[in-house]
Assembly symmetry: C2
Homo-oligomer: 162 residues x 2
């Protein structure tokens, strides 16, 4: 049995706030390091990496609005990033046959190759940065994070059902 | 004894990447909800909340550059936010007696009262959003997050010592 933390109900809000602040700290430190390495080793920004990552998951292409939704960033920012990816030959805009006004953005094969290099490097950085978590606790840690997302999704379902 | 996850060494990079993606997802969902509530209930943006939060921790005031460092956002953004807080009577700029060029930013008493209301609401939202984590696992979860930050800090110390 796991040792109980023996929290009184009145301690829970503080314990949850502390957990959130620790999440922010850990996530912020990792993200800062990823930004630094993307910049220093590849001359890349994190939003540019994120757009390429989204495009790499949808080889048939994505509308601008779909990229924004996936990344939760504003359409304006995505437009600028796609503009520069296109200029650099890493992405192309293609017409949609059944909708004359719509355009899809796709990685070029040069873009796919470039992203594959970045993704490999990124995986190595994460491996390195998360090496402090005991190996036998990784799955448990992931499961704890799931308890947060599951709860948020249930809450959202309930709100939508009202 | 805790059940071992029995990960082979070759699975570790993937397990760490999965953990990182779950961290991003949980954190992103919480942050999106905080942004939404700050906007809907207080007409506030998250960066504005974060600047007031930093100022509330330093009642004697902070230089613009100190606010930027604490929040890891660019000086330009902080300037605009402080400008609007000042216009709204929530913050003031004060001269530093020993350095004529420097200015400190401080919350006004109206700003302190306003932030105290926001902080109470924010604590309630977090309490609500993290309610899915079993109460007796909260401290363990926090400790797991510490294993990440501790490792990153040790790495940084080693890099600086070189």
């Amino acid at each position: 049995m796991r040792p109980s933390a023996k929290l009184h109900d009145s301690d829970l809000p503080k314990a949850r706030l502390r957990l959130w602040l620790k999440m922010l700290k850990a996530q912020g430190s990792i993200e800062a390091e990823i930004r630094r390495r993307l910049r220093d080793e590849f001359g890349f920004t994190l939003p540019r990496f994120d757009v390429m990552s989204a495009l790499s998951r949808f080889p048939k292409g994505l509308k601008m609005s779909e990229i924004s939704n996936l990344l939760k960033v504003s359409n304006g920012n995505v437009t600028g990033i796609v503009e520069r990816l296109t200029q650099d030959g890493l992405a192309v805009r293609v017409a949609v046959p059944e909708d004359r006004r719509a355009q899809l953005v796709r990685l070029t094969s040069a873009g796919t190759r470039e992203f594959s290099k970045l993704a490999t490097a990124h995986e190595g950085w994460i491996d390195d940065m998360l090496a402090g978590v005991p190996a036998d606790r990784l799955d448990d840690f992931s499961a704890l994070l799931d308890t947060i997302t599951d709860h948020l999704e249930r809450r959202e379902d309930q709100t939508n059902a009202k």
